[in-house]
C-alpha cells in the first residue's frame, strides 16, 4: 500500500489529502527509526560503562590480591615472632621475671595473639570470597586428628582448669583437608574454652549418623540466646557473649568454619540454651559423596 502511494507521489498522480497521508506515514516511520537509534545509542553507552567498570573492578581485585599477599608475608610473620618470643620469655626464660615484666609480656603476648588471629581470619575471608579455597583432600583418620587437636588445646584449657573429654565411635577413614579441619576443630574447641567458666568440662565426640560422621563440641558455657544464634555464622556483629577469661574473639571465625565445612559437603549446626551451655556440631560425608 505504502509503496503504491509513494510511486504515485513520484509520478505526480496524488491529490493533497493523499500527500498528507504519505507525509504522516513518513513522519511516523522516521520517529520510530529515531527512537530505535536513541535506544541503540543508550545501549552502546551502557555496555561501554559496564566494560569500564569491569576493567576497574579487575584492577581493584589485583590491588587487593597484592595487598593480601603483603599482609600474609610482611605482617603475619613478624607477628608470629613477637607472639612466639613473648611466649618463650613468659614460660621458658632462664631468668625469673619481675611482676611488671610478666605483666607487660602477658600484654604483648595477648595483643599479638589477637592480631594474628584477626590477620589470619581476614586472609581466610579474602581467599574464600575470591572463590580460591582449594581443599587438599586425603583419606585419613578423623579420630586421630581430633585426639591431636584436643591435646594441643589442652594447653590453654589448663590455664582455666577446664577438663577436655573425648568420646569416639569407630569410623572408617574419611576424605578431608587435614589443615582446614584442624582449623575447624581449633576454632570450635577454642571457642568452648573462651566462653566457659573456670573448672568447666568440655566434651568432644565423634559418632556416625545417616552416612555422615558427626563431630560435636559440647561446653558448659553461658549459652547463646536464640535471637543471637542466627548471627553466629555471619560475622557475629552484635553478639552479646564475651569470653570469660579476657580472651579476644573476632567473631568471623565461625563464618570461616561454616565455609570450610560446606566446601567438604558437610553442615555446621548449633544447639544452645542460656545458662546451660552450647553444642556445636559438624558433619562430614562418610562414603558416596565425593569431596572435590
Amino acid at each position: 500500500m505504502n509503496e503504491r502511494l509513494l510511486s504515485e507521489l513520484k509520478n505526480g498522480q496524488l491529490a493533497n489529502p493523499q500527500v498528507c497521508k504519505i507525509m504522516t506515514l513518513l513522519m511516523e516511520q522516521w520517529a520510530k527509526e529515531k527512537d530505535h537509534e536513541i535506544k541503540q545509542q543508550l545501549l552502546r553507552s551502557t555496555v561501554l560503562r559496564y566494560a569500564d567498570a569491569e576493567s576497574k573492578l579487575a584492577e581493584m581485585n589485583r590491588t587487593k590480591n597484592r595487598f593480601v599477599g603483603l599482609v600474609a608475608h610482611d605482617l603475619r610473620n613478624p607477628l608470629v615472632s613477637i607472639r612466639g618470643l613473648s611466649e618463650l620469655l613468659l614460660n621458658d626464660g632462664n631468668d625469673p621475671l619481675s611482676a611488671q615484666q610478666r605483666d607487660f609480656l602477658t600484654t604483648i603476648y595477648s595483643a599479638s595473639n589477637s592480631m594474628l588471629t584477626l590477620v589470619n581470619d581476614i586472609l581466610d575471608m579474602a581467599v574464600m570470597e575470591s572463590g580460591n579455597l582449594r581443599l587438599q583432600v586425603r583419606r585419613q583418620s578423623l579420630s586421630r586428628l581430633i585426639r591431636e587437636r584436643v591435646k594441643v588445646n589442652a594447653i590453654p584449657a589448663k590455664e582455666k582448669r577446664i577438663s577436655l573429654e573425648q568420646h569416639f565411635s569407630r569410623l572408617p577413614n574419611l576424605s578431608f583437608d587435614r589443615n582446614r579441619i584442624s582449623q575447624v576443630l581449633d576454632n570450635l574447641i577454642g571457642n568452648a574454652i573462651k566462653f566457659s567458666p573456670e573448672q568447666a568440662r568440655i566434651a568432644v565426640s565423634l559418632s556416625r549418623r545417616n552416612g555422615t560422621a558427626i563431630v560435636s563440641v559440647h561446653d558448659q558455657g553461658m549459652g547463646i540466646a536464640r535471637e543471637d544464634q542466627a548471627q553466629l555464622f555471619s560475622g557475629g556483629a552484635g553478639l552479646r557473649n564475651e569470653p570469660t577469661g579476657g580472651e579476644k574473639s573476632t567473631g568471623i571465625g565461625l563464618t570461616i568454619v561454616r565455609k570450610i565445612i560446606e566446601e567438604h559437603k558437610g553442615t555446621l549446626t548449633v544447639e544452645s540454651e542460656v545458662g546451660i551451655g552450647s553444642t556445636f556440631s559438624f558433619t562430614l560425608p562418610l562414603e558416596g559423596k565425593r569431596v572435590e
Partner: protein
C-alpha cells in the same frame, strides 16, 4: 655454640631474621644446640655438609634455592637427613611436595610455641622408632 655431644645439633634455615631468632629460641628451650643458621638454600646445604646436624629446620620459601630444591639435593647426598619444613599458610602445595620427597614433617610458622615443640619432639621420636625398626629387620 656448645660442644656437648648429648645435645641434638640443629641448623635453622630461613631468610627472615626474626623467624630464625624465634626458632633458635624454641630449640634452645628444648635443650638443642643450634650449630648454624642459613639465610639461603645454598647456605643451608653448605652448613649441613659442615656440621652434619641431627635436625634441619628448613623454610620452604627461600631465595637462591627454594626448600624443595634444597631437600632434593640434600637427600641425594644424605638420605638419612632429618628435615622438618617450615611454612606459611599459603605454601601448602610446596609442603605436600617436600613431604613426598622425604621431609619428616612440617611446621606452620603461625603455630604456637608449645605446639611447635610437640611437633618436633613427636617427629623426632617417630623417626627414631622407624629407624630402630629398620635396623632390627
Amino acid at each position: 655454640m656448645s660442644n656437648d655431644p648429648r645435645r641434638p645439633k640443629v641448623i635453622v634455615a630461613d631468610d627472615e631474621g626474626h623467624c630464625r631468632v624465634l626458632m633458635k629460641a624454641v630449640l634452645a628451650s628444648m635443650n638443642c644446640d643450634v650449630v648454624g643458621e642459613a639465610r639461603t638454600g645454598d647456605e643451608a646445604i653448605e652448613l649441613y655438609r659442615k656440621y652434619r646436624p641431627n635436625l634441619l629446620l628448613l623454610d620452604v620459601n627461600m631465595p637462591v634455592k627454594t626448600g624443595d630444591e634444597v631437600l632434593e639435593e640434600l637427600l641425594a647426598e644424605f638420605p638419612d637427613a632429618f628435615v622438618v619444613v617450615l611454612t606459611s599458610v599459603t605454601d601448602m602445595e610446596s609442603i605436600e611436595k617436600c613431604i613426598s620427597m622425604g621431609a619428616a614433617n612440617y611446621i606452620r610458622k603461625d603455630t604456637p610455641v608449645a605446639e611447635i615443640k610437640m611437633i618436633i619432639k613427636e617427629t623426632w621420636k617417630s623417626i627414631l622408632d622407624q629407624r630402630k625398626k629398620t635396623v632390627t629387620h
